[in-house]
């Protein structure tokens, strides 16, 4: 039975629950907007990496470099789209 629950997966699961509840704190604690966003961004980024590495086994094959590059490129374009749109349509708009 125990070998059906490998420690990496269990730890990953517990860790992701903990991170979610830490993030939940931003609506109960009295934080500045910046501090709250920093907490949210850090928690979300760690959680995403947990899933990628522990659950999705991104690093297990010989093409892992390409796979990381793929995710990095996608994240680059995603961030450019999000922040570029905010920059163009809101922050930088007269």
């Amino acid at each position: 039975m125990a070998r059906l629950f490998p420690i990496r997966h269990v730890m990953g699961y517990i860790f992701s629950l903990v991170l979610s509840f830490v993030a939940l704190g931003v609506i109960y604690w009295d934080l500045t907007f910046t501090a709250a966003m920093v907490i949210l961004i850090i928690c979300a980024a760690i959680q995403a990496s947990l899933q990628l590495v522990l659950f999705m086994h991104i690093g297990e094959t010989s093409s892992k470099k390409t796979l990381y590059l793929n995710i990095a490129y996608a994240v680059f374009v995603g961030l450019v789209t999000v922040f570029g749109t905010l920059f163009t349509m809101i922050w930088g708009f007269r």
């Binding site: 374009v77 450019v80 163009t88 349509m89 930088g92 708009f93 007269r94």
Partner: protein, 648 residues
């Protein structure tokens, strides 16, 4: 809905088109039945998963769409030839410039480029097919379904009329109440999904299916350009998918993304459209760069100058292409920071492009140049494209752009990059690889006549537009008064457009002429070329390579010819595993067409039924167990014997 709203009525030209569509359809149906070709069509083409055939179908569709988009262009030029012409009314003119733009970019340039990729890339890297042949067929049929859905708007429901960029609020339900822009959102959506799958397919093909010894830095430049292009496709097309979906929600389901009330933000559409739209420009131009690189190197009898800098500049372009989109709407009212930032990135992207121009020039230097028809297109490309590029740098300056924005200067600029870049590129590629596909070359004399008509016609048609733009003629105006003084230059431009059209007619006639008269190519290498595709017999057998080639350097085939180093190891043939044909992609395309069509008219019950049909098709595919078939070694030996004589 009444029937006279369903069909487009009241235009003699459209009635004429309807009659001719019906007549041509009947002729095709009768012809297929009379010559008993239904089975052939189904077995060999509609169900094929062979990358070469899919490529041919892409190119054929692109040529048909080139005809449609070209007729649109001629109608526009005829209308503008003289002041206050009554040839078209304003509404009809709006529809025509919209469909011209959409068709030329998405249903002509894209499939032409993708068609050449399909034909050439597996051959250049020594692969038997693309990584996912079935998915490749799905890509094609989704593209085709989208193209047909878009074109049918011409006679049913009415064409979109808000420009190819379909800016809101003009494209909203309030200002464009016909179903035209519903066609726009759904047709582009369906074909866009197909394109996205092509992106995945070709990246896997190029990264995972190369012949032994073909390292990344030994790949032919066209393959490199296709790899980079598909990376851009993969990351740019999802943005279009979202933008079109939001447009559909706004127009069909009453959401408030781009509306003028309830918090909607009309310019957000323009923003999303160009986040995709600018990378799209590089999607259609980079493969052309690759084609020219291969052609210039082949016909200069030299290896490509600055191979590494070519690759590096394309990688830079692919990243920068995602950082320049706001230069399409400098005049929106964004602050100096935004316009300044995008001005700088836009000017930066000219640098890697300039690097490529110099590389081509240095490749030519001291080369033994032969002026074949593909080479002529490449030679015309370099100066004309540079001209177009330089006017692009002028437009990149945000403050100056306030003067040029939405004038004919802009129209001239993008035709000056897209025609010598993409169109000359795919035409050069078509002439270059035609013998590989069909086993005979296009007649050179007629090809060169077509080339000169196209080049001269193009310059006569578009050079005047720069001056018209600087004089203040805006784009998309359906007529002008004689007082403006726009008349004479417009008339010259119209003459040029017709010369260009005659060039295309000659080019198409040349297919027929060459089919009748060209000598058949015996050895598969008519140009004395450099890359692997020319080491196969022409036309290429279904399995591409009887034995897997072993690559030792760049320009592998050239290397093997010069150093007498065989590409193929000695030894008996081995059995080859091939994928089975399938009708599912075609059927999926038909269902998607109807799903789109029903949604256009907001007929939700049939649309849901078609949607369920799509899910059933996916399930069928999941449960299917199809392991392909094998071609025996004996059969391969017989085929090779027939194709190559006894040289191997």
């Amino acid at each position: 809905m009444k029937w006279d709203e369903f069909f487009v009525t009241g235009e003699p030209m459209i009635y004429g088109a309807m009659v001719s569509i019906v007549l041509v359809s009947i002729a095709i149906l009768v012809g297929l039945t009379y010559f008993k070709k239904w089975g052939y069509l189904w077995r060999e083409w509609l169900t094929t998963v062979d990358h070469k055939r899919i490529g041919v179908m892409y190119i054929l569709s692109a040529l048909i769409m080139l005809f449609r988009g070209g007729v649109d262009a001629l109608l526009m030029r005829t209308q503008l030839a003289v002041p206050e012409s009554g040839f078209l009314d304003s509404q009809h003119y709006n529809e025509i410039f919209t469909t011209h733009g959409v068709i030329m970019i998405l249903f002509m340039a894209m499939p032409f480029v993708i068609g050449l990729m399909n034909v050439v890339v597996p051959l250049q890297i020594g692969a038997r097919d693309v990584a996912f042949p079935r998915l490749n067929a799905v890509s094609f049929w989704l593209f085709f379904a989208g193209a047909m859905l878009f074109n049918i708007s011409f006679v049913i429901g009415g064409s979109p009329d808000a420009g190819w960029s379909a800016y809101f609020p003009l494209a909203s339900l309030e200002f464009s109440p016909t179903v035209g822009n519903n066609f726009y959102s759904l047709a582009l959506q369906i074909s866009g999904i197909g394109t996205l799958m092509t992106g995945v397919n070709f990246i896997v093909t190029i990264l995972k299916m190369r012949a032994p010894g073909m390292k990344l830095m030994r790949m032919p430049m066209f393959t490199w350009s296709v790899l980079i292009t598909n990376v851009i496709i993969l990351f740019a097309f999802p943005v279009l998918t979202v933008a079109l979906a939001l447009m559909m929600f706004d127009r069909i389901f009453g959401s408030q993304f781009f509306t003028m009330a309830n918090g909607g933000m009309d310019m957000l559409w323009a923003n999303l459209f160009w986040v995709w739209g600018h990378p799209e420009v590089y999607i259609v131009i980079l493969p052309a760069f690759g084609i020219f690189s291969d052609i210039i190197s082949t016909f200069s009898k030299k290896n490509l100058y600055g191979y590494k800098s070519m690759v590096f500049s394309m990688v830079i372009i692919s990243l920068l292409s995602f950082l320049v989109w706001a230069h399409h709407f400098y005049t929106m009212g964004a602050g100096a920071m935004v316009n300044g930032f995008f001005s700088i990135t836009t000017m930066l992207i000219a640098v890697p492009t300039g690097v490529k121009i110099f590389n081509w020039l240095f490749t030519l230097r001291k080369g033994k140049i032969s002026f074949t028809s593909p080479m002529l297109y490449a030679m015309a490309f370099i100066p004309i494209f540079t001209f177009g590029g330089v006017t692009g740098v002028m437009l990149a300056m945000a403050s100056a752009d306030y003067q040029y924005h939405n004038t004919m200067f802009l129209v001239a600029h993008f035709h000056y990059v897209l025609i010598p870049g993409t169109v000359f590129g795919v035409l050069a590629g078509l002439h270059y690889w035609f013998p590989k596909l069909f086993g005979f070359r296009l007649n050179e004399a007629r090809a060169k006549l077509a080339f000169w008509l196209i080049v001269v016609g193009f310059n006569v048609a578009f050079m005047p537009l720069f001056f018209l733009g600087l004089q203040g003629m805006t784009r998309r105006m359906y007529t002008y008064s004689a007082d403006t003084g726009f008349g004479p230059l417009n008339f010259i431009a119209t003459i040029g457009a017709f010369v260009l059209a005659i060039g295309f007619v000659v080019l198409c006639y040349n297919f027929y002429y060459s089919f009748r008269h060209s000598p058949r190519d015996e050895h598969g290498d008519p140009w004395d070329a450099r890359t692997l595709e020319w080491s196969t017999p022409s036309p290429v057998p279904v399995y591409n390579f009887a034995k897997v080639p072993h690559v030792e350097s760049q320009d592998a085939f050239w290397h093997s010819k010069k150093h007498n180093a065989p590409l193929y190891k000695e030894g008996p043939y081995e059995e080859i595993h091939m994928p089975n044909n399938s009708g599912q992609p075609f059927i999926l395309g038909v269902i998607m067409f109807f799903a789109g069509f029903f949604l256009v008219f907001s007929w939700f019950t049939p649309a849901i039924i078609a949607g369920v049909g799509v899910v059933i098709m996916l399930a069928l595919r999941s449960f299917e167990r199809d392991h392909g078939y094998h071609i025996s070694a004996k059969e391969i030996a017989a085929t090779e014997q027939k194709l190559r004589g006894d040289s191997v």
